[in-house]
Amino acid sequence: MGNFEKVTRQFIIACVTASIVFIAQMCRAENDEDFFESRVRPVLVKHCQDCHGAKKQEGGLRLDSRDAWMRGGDRGETISIGQADKSLLIQAVRHEVADLMMPPNAKKLDNAEIADLEAWVNRGAHDPRRETVSQTSNRMGLDQARTFWSFQPVQQIVPPNDSEDRWSWTSIDAFLHAKWKEKETTGSRVSPVSDADRRTLIRRASFDLTGLPPSPEEINTFLSDESEGAFGRLIDRLLESPAYGERWGRHWLDVARYADTAGDGADYPVREAGKYRNWVINAFNRDQPFDEFIREQIAGDILAQSGPVEKYADRVTATGFLAIGKRYGYKAAPDYQYLDFADAIDSIGRSVLGLSVGCARCHDHKYDPISAADYYAWYGILESTRWAFPGGEEQKRPAHFPALVPAEEVAKRDKIKADELERLDQQIAVLKRERSEIDPNRLAGGLDLGLESQPLGKPPGPPWLSAGPNAVLAEAQSPFAHVHPAGKQGVRIGSGQPNEGVRYVFENGLRATPEKQMHFTVDFRAVEGATEKGAFRFYLGRGVIESLAVECSVTSTEFAIRNGDKWQVIRQITPGTWYSLRLTLDPSAKSLTGSVGTLQDQTAFQDIQTGPNWDGVVDCFICDGIGHVPGAACARDLDNLGLQDHAFAKLDSGPVNPIVRPPDIDQRMAKLDADIKAMTESRQLVSNSVPYPVAYGVTEGATVNSRIQVRGEPQRLSDVIPRRNLEVLGGDMVPEHAGSGRLELANWLTRPTNPLTARVFVNRVWQWHFGQGLVASPSDFGSRGELPTHPELLDWLANEFMASGWSVKSLHRWIMNSRAYQLASVDQAENIALDPSNRLHWRFSRRGLDAESIRDAMLAVSGRLDRSIPETHPFPSVDTWGYTIHSPFHAVYDSNHRSVYLMVQRNRRHPYLALFDAADPNQSIASRQPTTTPTQALYLMNSPLVHDLSEAFARRVASIDGDDAAKLRWAFEAMHGQIPEDAVVDDAIGFVSAYRKKLAGSQATDESDIAAWSALARVLMTSNAFLYVD
């Protein structure tokens, strides 16, 4: 809009406003109430409240009650009473502010409506609408939280002691029994079914604790042990198996959103992720106290500082729990770190506390007593932490991975490595110098850096670098022979372009040494008849213009040298004439002297300053077209370069003689080359070696208190919130000088007075054993979660668990030794009608095997399961990583190890794990949602894995002694843990022989035999008796 238009519009607005004020005063007779009802309320209802009312609160603003607009929106005060012009509401409807034109989509109110609103504001914004209860938030306040079940302290509960209870074996049973009895009074009588048979029990317990089927031998050992406590001993045996941690660790990895890739757009692989996975597996296997298990995952790096050194690596590794979440950034700088933190806060909240703390990112939690301030109090703790960066689109290498050895050890090993590298570098330098001294190139043409050995007519090749139309030519040979023996060729630089020319990197560069000078020489001429006006340049210094020592600049008519920040013209020159330049650098004085000229006509110069920032190293010479006079530089010839730490012969000292080639030169060269190669390789090995192992975890960063991000937008910052605990859990502050506060957070989460942590975890364990928790929403113990079916049992378990020293294996024993765990999974019509989902535990709920168990069981029965712990995934070498969102990392690695060790990728999931409903690693998963789909059936029918493993199983079967019936009984027992009735065995025998016959006619062959048994194996390992556990 032009200025004129704008002025005009403002003028019109001013006029209209003025007249409105006048009209408004005229109408003062109309009382405020009537004015609001007739003029204002209809406008608000019609145009505003759809987006600023009960349904939506765009911009955080509601206009459906006086209380609401008085609170204002995200932009602050909405109405400045009595001052229409200053009120955002009025400015918005007038379309005065570019990004605040209301209503949106250019449907401006008509002038009369705007005038009414203005008048209403100016006369006091009378509004009779008071906030109703339904308009206020449903959020639970801190007061209400004190009475909400999950925020109350865990109660001390005495298990029911019912003398009439003849059913119960353990306290757990007594609680369940009491609940049945309690329900009886309301007329709904569920009664427990019979106990499970022992074959069912061992299969159930084996899959439950280890994720693997019992072998026929294990079944028979258990069946033949008829003594008291046989099942208890079975439980103990299974708990001692390393397979236990692999199974139960995987449960925790669901909650911990474990993956082997970062989840950013490019999905960078994380080589160290598996260390955290293995740590979790180990923690379960050694029954690490659960409170310590949590503390180490939140603050292991801090705990490691004060603990025994043997625990250092484990504790730092444990912080992988924080780092392992989905990442959003493209580089280590915190560009999207607020989203990484959102993931971490959400995951800590859900996994440990069963609270959706992450919901308070944009505003106070809608239902639970968690404020946005609580969220940003935790946020500050995370922001005060240094996070391992896995690599990303813009920064393609991992960074900040914490070391698994203490800091002093890191320093020590870093030093050892640096020393070793320096030692090798020195040795290599010695060898190279030795080599260059006997180099035939040097011997043939002197020290002019191999120009004599370059092919004629071509640009100079390695070790020279050339850009542009340059060529090694005979006519570019300098006439001077005082430094090098007379040669036959030099280089002509044919380009005048600024960035074209030649470069030479000296293998044995010179480094400032006290009392030593550096000497450089070069011969040059502008070609005959050159008319270009621009200058070419000699650069001498470290690297490609990294640290400038000397700069000379030459046109076809003059030679200049940089003296400090000025160009100093030294002399006139003539095209076609050769000049020799000699420089002597004094690094300690940062000055140089020299001369330039012909034999008869030399110009000396002195007290020239070197580059002011020169670092004392000379290892690179460049001649390009960037000189002290702009424009195209002339073509020029160069020859006879030299750099050494002692003086060159004088220009008039006469020609030097060619050096005589020693007889054994070739052998000596070959030996030196081999030595250099070997030494360089060992240097590379040392250089690539990481002197200490690292983990994907966190360490302490610079402490900071974070500001609230209004509506979760990191640009819209509000109040600073000190780092502290959630208010509902006490609101304890992070003490000053305490560091990030993670150690404090770890302690707050696990102190016995925390009402949530123990309850949440015992509920998870219950859920993993029985298929559902006592609280059916295992990661939501808030007001929108489910209530516990057996609150007393939950509290009793939580207390016993804490009293046992948070021993998870004890928890397994209590639960599995209960009679409830050992019930059959049979139907009972009355019970099904009363309690179809078995919340009252009248039977054991049958469950499908999860993805890992199906695959592991198939591998196990076919004898292919590799029970060892695999090395790290075969990720491509980190030097090759260049993943972007356009070409992200993707891989599927085959293995016969247990499925918990498969490479779990975030953005493109492992095809098998995704198909069979393994946990989505993009967020904390409380319970998997099993599905039964035809695409799974297709996998079971047609996948290479199932076919391969069936064949492996067939070979096992074929090796079993006995007839088909005996083989079949073994096959059924291995696959299903049961031997079916004879009719079923006969049916299967019929199948095998029919299949054989169909393949081979009457002549059965080994091949058709294996094929038939493979077909049978496929049937058995895809049948429901295999895929489900009673």
Partner: protein, 464 residues
Amino acid sequence: MNTFQQTRRDFLSRASGGFGAIALAGMCSDLQGSQDNPLASREAHHPAKADRVIFLYSTGGTSHIDTFNHRPQLIADHGKSITASRWLNQSGEYNRFLIKPRFSFQQYGQSGTWVSELFPHLGSVIDDVCVLNAMHCESDGHDKATLAAHTGSAQFARPSVGSWVSYGLGTVNQNLPSFMVLAPAAPYAGAQTWGSDFLPACHQGTHVLPGAEPLPNIRPRNRDTEMQQMELALLGRLNQSHFAQRSADLALDARIRSFETAFGMQREAPEAFDLSQESEETLRLYGLERGATSGFGWQCLVARRLAERGVRFLELIDVGSSGNWDSHGDMGDHIRLAAAIDKPIAGLLTDLKQRGMLDRTLVVWTTEFGRTPFHQQADHAGREHHNLCFSSWIAGGGVKGGMVYGQSDEHGILATEDKVHTHDLHATLLHLLGIDHERLTFRHAGRDFRLTDVHGNVVHKIIA
């Protein structure tokens, strides 16, 4: 001996007895409701205008001012400088040069809708298309904008629009998945784009990879069908005797049925991918060589065949995360990319219309964002990401054809009138399918989640 067919009849007769209420389909454990088949076709919230969706997605960010948003003033002001508020993902004030499209525009059809020379075939059917010229979204990063266009969230893992539709409406052919994605390569953000996230996994997109075996494991490994039937028959008998003692467990029944469905899929899916019965005329319509098993023409024609067979939501990924419309260096790339999809898309619309399917099939074309009408250098051949204004279009299933909805400023920099946010497009799409986007919710982690989060307005003006 029983054949599998006989067993299947057994199942069917049993199904009509004890468990007749359950459809022949995969079953998800639906924690929030009954154990009914979650893929069973379901009642909509209100009468639907469309029964299915074909969602065409051009990856990389197709330039709006070079395709559907004709801005004569941009041509007139070519080379002049303006102040842009955003550049390369950063807000600020940037002096930039306006750059005119290098493609000419002309008006097509009765409606006179402007379309650039990149899409002549689409131009010929433009009277069936409603062009949206004031699209906008939050992010100008590929991965984030791609996720936003598919899941409504640029930040967090959420279910994709196809999963929501499958969850809301189920599907009519239980022999095929409800949501299928025909993609030669994954788009940005990978399979999250069609993931079901917290919705039951039966609603996730099934990836069809153009080529010889479009669905994994669809071909029996044993060529002899009879032998596979023998195996399945024994499996059926074993499962039956297992089930007989556990007959209240619907999950077991569902697993049994899943094998039947899979067996059906082995037949029906390859048939859907087999184009040998299509006429020369039809192949020509899609610009497809006989025998081809890939290319966007293949994707479009297979989409029509899957739509005919009752698949609820079909997504067609154009290209993938590399070599796509992301023309930073040279807008000339758009020529090749447009040529690859122009005829197939026009063919799809024509074919659907000829078969009377377009009325009930919603065809949506979109991309993650548009491209900047300006650049740092006045003569730059490429364009950068631009999320403040871009173009999409929508056709069929209850949408007004021959309409252009939404206006940008004269240079195509800002959407100004009748803006349509990605959330609005989702809300409208669901509305046309009979779903109220504010009522299609799923309780997860203590909150009712929606595709449109807390946003989204149905664009009523484009509904016929």
